[in-house]
Symmetry: C2
Subunit: 195 residues, 2 copies
Amino acid sequence: MRKKSIAKRDKILRAAFAVVCEKGYYETRLEDVAKVAGVAKGTVYLYFKDKPDLYLGIIRWLIGKAVAIVEEVKKEPASAPEQLRQVFHRWIDALSSQPATIDLVFPEMREERCEIARRFRREVLPEVHRLIKAIADVVRSGIRQAEFRRVEPRLAALSFLNAFRSAVLANTNWLGVRTSPQRALDIFFYGINKD
Amino acid sequence: MRKKSIAKRDKILRAAFAVVCEKGYYETRLEDVAKVAGVAKGTVYLYFKDKPDLYLGIIRWLIGKAVAIVEEVKKEPASAPEQLRQVFHRWIDALSSQPATIDLVFPEMREERCEIARRFRREVLPEVHRLIKAIADVVRSGIRQAEFRRVEPRLAALSFLNAFRSAVLANTNWLGVRTSPQRALDIFFYGINKD
DNA sequence: GTATAATGACTGACCGGTCAGTATAAATAT
DNA sequence: ATATTTATACTGACCGGTCAGTCATTATAC
């Protein structure tokens, strides 16, 4: 009796992640995922119910990692701005190899009908909420310490995520921007207005 | 029926836009687009080479409208911050009915192979550059007038776009944030840091 | 009458998911 | 120890539904 190993599940997950980063969900062929993972196509279905399930597995895994970083940083004895800075840089490091990741984590905004979007909303949105909450907590504590202005913490968290997005985008050169991530964070902290 | 009318092309484009907003590119069936446009499927192929071509038509159309708004506002005699505020609100108005739009305009970040992404990069990225440039121009003039800090204009433009994204997201309640768009703009201008 | 716009039934490639069969590790018997 | 049985992980050829794109036919403008 052999056992389904967690290691193999992980291997498939990583393979799927790589392929999805390259091609996006819809252009990802399970055949390819299997090939990259070094297993047969059928094996994928032993570990994941279907294609959406595999995809959701990736998202949960990614958001889990992102949240873990926040939780870890929150323990450190540092000011809220410093903690956000930490999170920001550790995230940058984590996905420097796979910038495409950023679009996986953000929720799709399609309306009702589309199968995968519906499942996504039902199953992954709670995870995204966790991520936003984790950041919002840091912001909230920063406001208490009078390090931040009295902004809406959850909106600030969302803005932080989008600032991160700017940073990632500006760190590739698809958009002809090419600046260090640092500067995007800077705009998030200080805005662009004088005074 | 003498000439292929521009009006009909437009009708198809609008129909496609509506369906793509609802389902996303890959779940969009040309059959449905045709139905919504009130034409037969074959007719779509008289006006657009293939599905990607139709999609790219939508994107160009949207970015064209976005750039037009910026150009228009730029003519008005107002300070740079005020102009950005104008653009922001007119954009919000323009897509209040279709929040999903926001994800169409942003470039996909997939790597080489995927057909549509490749065409996107080749054909639409220049349009996105135009959009970024238009905003960056306003920022630049604001810096000249000492209304803005000395930030990198193109990065500021990108940040502006992502702030807009935050606003749109926070204006739906998928993420449990629900604030007025105004506040997201506020964070973009003033940052979240105290002082 | 003729050129062209419009139609929608049709086709064929494609791919997610299945399943009958195989390989192999553990359990058990001798 | 070693043979035999049992359990199950794994395989990959195959199937069936789907849908982008085609084209023979029809409708219409001039």
